[in-house]
């Protein structure tokens, strides 16, 4: 039986890490795994965003819905937050 897991390259604040994920799970699971693997535990997953091909991805959507190619590199970064008015 083929392995249902897919492997994605997630670049967390510039640091790449390989994440194996269930394609039927929401994308949020990828964020949580990538943060844990890179020991970025200071901020909750909701403060991070995934960017692929210039688009910010909805973490609630299933991973399979994005149809990532095999060599997909996805960028995970801290959100800007609401800045002060200077």
């Amino acid at each position: 039986m083929p392995d249902p897991q897919i492997e994605l390259t997630i670049v967390v604040n510039g640091q790449p890490t390989q994440v194996r994920a269930n394609p039927h799970a929401p994308l949020l699971t990828v964020i949580e795994k990538a943060l844990a693997q890179t020991q970025n535990t200071g901020q909750p997953a909701s403060n991070w965003e995934l960017n692929y091909g210039g688009n910010v991805l909805d973490p609630k959507q299933k991973i399979e819905s994005f149809n990532f190619p095999a060599a997909a590199t996805i960028f995970l970064n801290l959100k800007a937050g609401i800045g002060g008015a200077g």
């Binding site: 960017n51 970064n77 800007a80 937050g81 002060g84 200077g86």
Partner: protein, 205 residues
């Protein structure tokens, strides 16, 4: 108010700077596809040039100068600079203000019948802030030295963001790209039309 360096060991800062550069170079091909080019990397300064790839012909939009002195006991300084000279832009020369949409507010219209949806005003907040047109603007973002040095942000200390990598090179580039170069889809053209004489359909015999 300048942040004190707290006697940072320069070897530590150099190692952390080297990590930022090494990680950037590891994915340099991917970043190039996005229009990011590392133009300078000599401790403590890194300069990245960003291009807008979605316009034809592509545009070299800006340089971003990072100063990682005493990192990471204090955050990096970040300035938008001329990509050719590395001179910081004045506020009135900025190629982009890094505007972000921060929600909508309903606009009250007197006399509008009940049940009619109120028009909404989309609010934009520039991440680049300055007091005057001739000032050097700063990036109003946690993880940036100028932000944490600003008296208005004394309640949002660098220490609250340091461990999450808020000052890391690629994280800051992602923010600048998202609000700066990625949204650029074309050129704004200004035509200067001058009357050069009269036109006529026929020349009488």
């Amino acid at each position: 108010m300048a942040l004190a360096s707290r006697g940072t060991d320069q070897r530590v800062s150099k190692r952390k700077f080297a990590r930022e550069i090494r990680e950037f170079r590891r994915l340099a091909g991917t970043y190039r596809e996005r229009g990011w080019y590392l133009a300078e990397a000599t401790f403590p300064i890194a300069v990245v040039v960003m291009a807008a790839k979605n316009v034809k012909p592509p545009a070299l939009v800006m340089g971003i100068r990072f100063d990682y002195t005493d990192y990471d006991s204090i955050p990096p300084s970040v300035q938008l600079v001329d990509p050719f000279t590395s001179e910081p832009y004045h506020a009135n020369d900025l190629p982009t203000q890094l505007k972000r949409s921060v929600g909508t507010t309903n606009v009250q219209v007197l006399g509008l019948p009940d049940g009619v949806a109120l028009p909404q005003l989309v609010q934009h907040q520039p991440l680049m802030q300055a007091y005057g047109d001739s000032d050097t603007p700063f990036l109003c973002l946690a993880g940036v030295r100028e932000y944490h040095e600003h008296p208005g942000h004394s309640g949002d200390a660098w220490e609250l963001h340091r461990a999450s990598g808020a000052g890391r090179l690629v994280r800051l580039l992602e923010i600048i790209d998202r609000y700066g170069t990625a949204p650029i889809t074309g050129y704004n053209l200004q035509l200067d039309v001058k009357i050069a004489g009269y036109s006529q359909q026929v020349v009488p015999e």
